[in-house]
Assembly symmetry: C2
Homo-oligomer: 326 residues x 2
């Protein structure tokens, strides 16, 4: 070890580097100076082998190129980096076997912790991983030792989106649902129904169209809706991407937004703001979600109990919704 060449034993240097024990000021200074002089940078690989820590945390995401998760990864990266950890991102592509494989790769690289963003892995698989290393899961509610979970209140989001439409005077509100395999899609739908109920509007199942969280899915859904000839004056799409697809479908058939139908999305990703017309939506700070997840991981890593939580969703009124004219 290089720094040894500058006075003391390797053990002492190691202790200083890690703050593992108190060291006399004299040697402290000597070592600091030597480190500076030599431009010494500890080798994380060796540290990992010897100490069992790699200062890296594995992050299982679904698609690294998704606009939604991209934001979250950004939040994770910023936070982890500050603490000297490096995130290692792997993709599961919404496929259980791939997710497992990706996590195995992470484990074999001895990451210190695991952050899981959504996915199809059963809860119990996640709980099992938590036995091996600190784990934070985003988008589900579950508990176990060394496992922390974090999620938005999607039902509340669905509720305020629909309430906004109700307040605008709409009572024939179609809903384009998200992929039912996602917990959050179900919660958003529950919020929609709850708002209807609170407003005394009868729930009409024919106004609910299945979707898949993609633009193409939103386009398809709106086409089906239009072909059904059911009357409606507003659409709540379970995410922005579907709302954007729906907007295109409406444009194609010369249905004007918001003059003929009001449209609200969910997420408030970047494209919502520049949609034509700019999309009214429910804001969730996905970046914040990532950074809170990382903070929780850092807590877990130092043996503390995480207290991270997410701000409630809020409505962002833009130009795709308006009061219904009578």
């Amino acid at each position: 070890m290089v720094a040894l060449a500058a006075g003391v034993s390797p053990s002492t240097v190691s202790r200083i580097l890690n703050g593992t024990a108190t060291v006399s000021p004299a040697r402290q200074d000597a070592v600091d100076a030597a480190i500076k002089r030599l431009g010494f940078r500890p080798n994380p690989v060796a540290r990992g082998l010897a100490g069992g820590r790699t200062l890296s945390v594995g992050v299982l995401t679904q698609t690294i190129s998704s606009p939604f998760y991209g934001e979250a990864l950004h939040g994770i990266e910023d936070q982890l980096e500050k603490a000297g950890y490096i995130p290692i991102f792997v993709s599961g592509h919404w496929h259980e076997a791939e997710e497992r494989k990706a996590i195995e790769a992470l484990l074999s690289r001895r990451v210190d912790g695991l952050i899981v963003l959504a996915g199809r892995l059963p809860n119990q698989a996640l709980q099992a991983y938590a036995k091996q290393l600190p784990t934070v899961v985003v988008g589900r509610k579950l508990s176990a030792a060394r496992l922390f979970s974090l999620g938005f209140d999607n039902e509340a989001g669905g509720l305020i989106a629909t309430q906004h439409l109700v307040e605008c005077g709409h009572d024939r509100i179609a809903f384009i649902a998200g992929d039912r395999a996602h917990e959050d899609a179900l919660a958003r739908e529950a919020g929609y129904r709850k708002a209807l109920q609170q407003a005394g509007i009868a729930f009409d199942p024919t106004l609910v169209i299945a979707g898949d969280y993609t633009e193409a899915g939103g386009l398809l859904a709106v086409n089906r809706l239009l072909e059904s000839r059911l009357p409606f004056t507003a659409i709540f799409a379970a995410n922005d991407q579907m709302a954007i697809g729906a907007a295109l479908g409406l444009y194609r058939r010369n249905v004007r937004v918001p003059d003929d139908v009001s449209l609200v999305g969910f997420d408030d990703l970047a494209p919502a703001k520049f949609a034509i017309p700019p999309l009214t939506t429910v804001r969730q700070s996905v970046y914040e979600m990532g950074s809170q997840a990382a903070l929780a991981m850092l807590d877990l890593l130092r043996g503390a109990t995480p207290s991270a939580s997410l701000p409630p969703p809020t409505l962002v009124p833009r130009e795709s919704t308006r009061r219904v004219l009578r």
Copy 2:
């Protein structure tokens, strides 16, 4: 080493694992069986320390949440994973000092290679890194030993975009430029000018507006253009994001696309297809760019000379452009 417990020496096992030398069939089988029986998974951390290989490659990107780079990262990940390597993504945020720091972090983790996506690092810095480890840089042309560079033909892209507009009969074509710090922005502009020249249309510098590759920048640019009261019937924006911002600016002022002005973008990222109206643009397969970069890295790693290249950009005609009416 666990597998030793099953017959031979650790060296032999290592050799089998790495294909480093020929081993007698008998031991080969014995070891294979033992590996299988014990469910042995080699520890990449230890391999890295001992052998100097970590089976990881560092990827410097600018913003992990960018729609453009997200696609590229996806391509890199898919290709590297197939070969047993894992990518480690770090962000430089278009900031030279951060880029350097990020690369240092990668080096200290002993990545086997480095893929650099754009950025502000001077070419010579990149060439210096190439002396330390195999490097592939995307989006610049430069050469050095163990350095491979790869990029789209942005000038050709700018050319075909503008030619398309010319063929539609436009001769007052505005150009919203990209961030001049990007080489590709300059090349796209050169393509624009070349097309004008080939068509015998005089270049009018007042029709060129500075932009920054963001939607907000496109919106601003179009406002400036409209306020200038200069006549124009078409706009070529140097990327899709600015085109989308421009479309919103036009919509706000009741200028119809494509009836009043034709609009073309560049990149063909996902949102272009669902813009209103769907955006005519120049397609570059960013995913392909990532996967070719990864393939080139794999070549470098095995000591071969990379031969990766990118398909030429192509025009994707959609609904935002139309023949000018006389």
